[in-house]
């Protein structure tokens, strides 16, 4: 399996990369880790004439704290997310999720930016970014703009990213210290995409939920922010009746495909189960 021919570009700045994208339009594709794009190119399902390798752009790397946000460069790898002391302290759900993505070799190469920008509904980071209410920094010929993760995804592989734009960073508001969190993913084997997965972040005040945010992976053609389910749980004591209502509200927004991972009804129910498990684990982890 050999990809089609292309011209290889290796810009050293975001401006240079954007200029290449502008001059070639949708015949050009940015290359980050390449572990989604290269397999598609080998199958000839993608055949970009120009490949813009982002690995030479130092500005796209790194994890830093800026005010109330953590900013992660698009070319930061899953392995770097896993080993980041800052993320382990402030946003441990990212490490938990990264460890469930693909396998060690792929995590050395696969990037956060590639995972969120590709628009593959099977990717795990998009729902997590919706749960965390992250925003994406997009650089284009007219400068930068920010799009909320909850507004970014339009359909499978269709996003708010224009062909001449580059996703350069992800900005994540830091949740309060002591928040509870969990990413629960059902998969058939190591390295598989989710049959269904749920991300939960919550804070507790004594026995009641102060704040709750939920998102779901791979149960629709986009990641799903479960706003209704989050609202139902906020203010509750996570009693079983309320959890039941929240799970029903989350299941109601799913629209999974029937495929090798199971029939649609099963995957919807598994999204509910993943949410229940994630809620239980997040509540156990939260400071009261």
């Amino acid at each position: 399996m050999i990809p089609g021919e292309f011209t290889y570009h290796r810009p050293s700045s975001v401006a240079e990369a954007v200029a290449i994208l502008v001059s070639h339009g949708d015949e050009a594709r940015p290359l980050s880790g390449g572990h989604s794009l290269i397999p598609m190119m080998k199958l000839r399902m993608a055949a970009p004439e120009h490949l813009v390798d982002l690995a030479g752009i130092a500005d796209l790397k790194g994890i830093s704290e800026s005010g109330d946000n953590i900013v992660i460069g698009a070319m930061t790898t899953q392995n770097e997310l896993i080993n980041s002391a800052l993320l382990t302290e402030k946003l441990p759900i990212i490490r938990e999720t990264s460890l469930l993505i693909a396998d060690p070799q792929i995590r050395y190469v696969g990037t956060l930016g590639g995972n969120v920008a590709n628009g593959d509904p099977g990717n795990d980071m998009p729902a997590l970014m919706q749960c965390l209410n992250a925003s994406y920094v997009l650089a284009g010929p007219d400068g930068e703009r920010e799009v909320a993760a909850r507004e970014f995804y339009e359909a499978a592989y269709f996003t708010a990213l224009a062909p001449e734009e580059l996703l350069t960073a992800v900005k994540i508001p830091v949740p309060p210290a002591g928040h509870g969190f969990a990413y629960e993913k059902l998969k058939r084997k190591v390295g598989d995409y989710a049959t269904a997965a749920a991300a939960v972040v919550l804070t507790m005040n004594g026995s009641s939920v102060d704040f709750c945010s939920i998102a779901l992976t791979n149960v629709s053609d986009t990641p799903l922010y479960a706003g209704d389910a989050s609202a139902i749980l906020t203010g509750s004591t996570l009693d079983s009746d309320t959890i039941k209502r929240a799970v029903a509200a989350a299941e109601a927004i799913t629209d999974p495909a029937s495929d090798a991972r199971g029939p649609a009804e099963y995957r919807t129910k598994m999204a509910g189960i993943m949410l229940q498990r994630a809620l239980t684990r997040a509540a156990e982890r939260a400071n009261r």
Binding site: M1, F6, Y8, L51, Q105
Partner: protein, 169 residues
């Protein structure tokens, strides 16, 4: 012939510097096997699942079937060909795979040993669970993994100077 311009690449492979011109679409595994005759890394699934093509690149385990050679420009690569000790004797991992019967047909072995090499550098004393998660990107269709795990434990023990468990039956 292609109109696409070939691009220069410089890599260090098992300590030896190599310079070539490649077509941009040349995958690293094809460059290693066909251009350099480094045939230890195998082409198994070609879909980044099986790990038979695993090599070490700048201290990271990577699947060379899913990288363009151009992406490895300037990198230091180590393959199974670079694993033996400088005097030609087997490394602790190679010895472990032999002693513990960590291979049967041998197809996955170069990828397994190369991956385990990086794993032990990062985590010299892994638990069984950490070994199993650490080689989760490498498939073996013969051994059931038991003896591969034992081989890696053997190597870790030898490198740490602790007691080596008895050889497999």
């Amino acid at each position: 012939m292609s109109d696409i311009e070939q691009i220069p690449v410089t890599l260090t492979v098992n300590g030896k510097k190599v310079q070539r011109f490649v077509e941009p679409r040349t995958l690293l595994i094809h460059f290693l096997r066909e251009e350099l005759n480094v045939t230890g890394p195998h082409i198994g699934c070609e879909t980044s699942h099986c790990g038979a093509c695993t090599v070490e690149m700048n201290g990271m385990s990577v699947k060379s079937c899913t990288l363009f050679t151009a992406q490895a420009d300037g990198a230091e690569l180590t393959t199974i060909e670079g694993m033996a000790n400088a005097d030609g004797t087997l490394s602790a991992l190679q010895e472990g795979f032999r002693q513990m019967h960590g291979l049967q047909c041998g197809f996955c072995t170069p990828g397994m040993i190369t991956r385990a090499h990086t794993l032990l550098k990062e985590n010299p004393n892994p638990t069984e669970e950490e070994i199993r998660m650490g080689i989760a990107g490498n498939l073996c269709r013969c051994t059931g993994y038991q003896n591969i795990v034992k081989a890696i434990q053997y190597a870790a023990a030898k490198l740490n100077g602790t007691d080596i468990q008895e050889a497999a039956e």
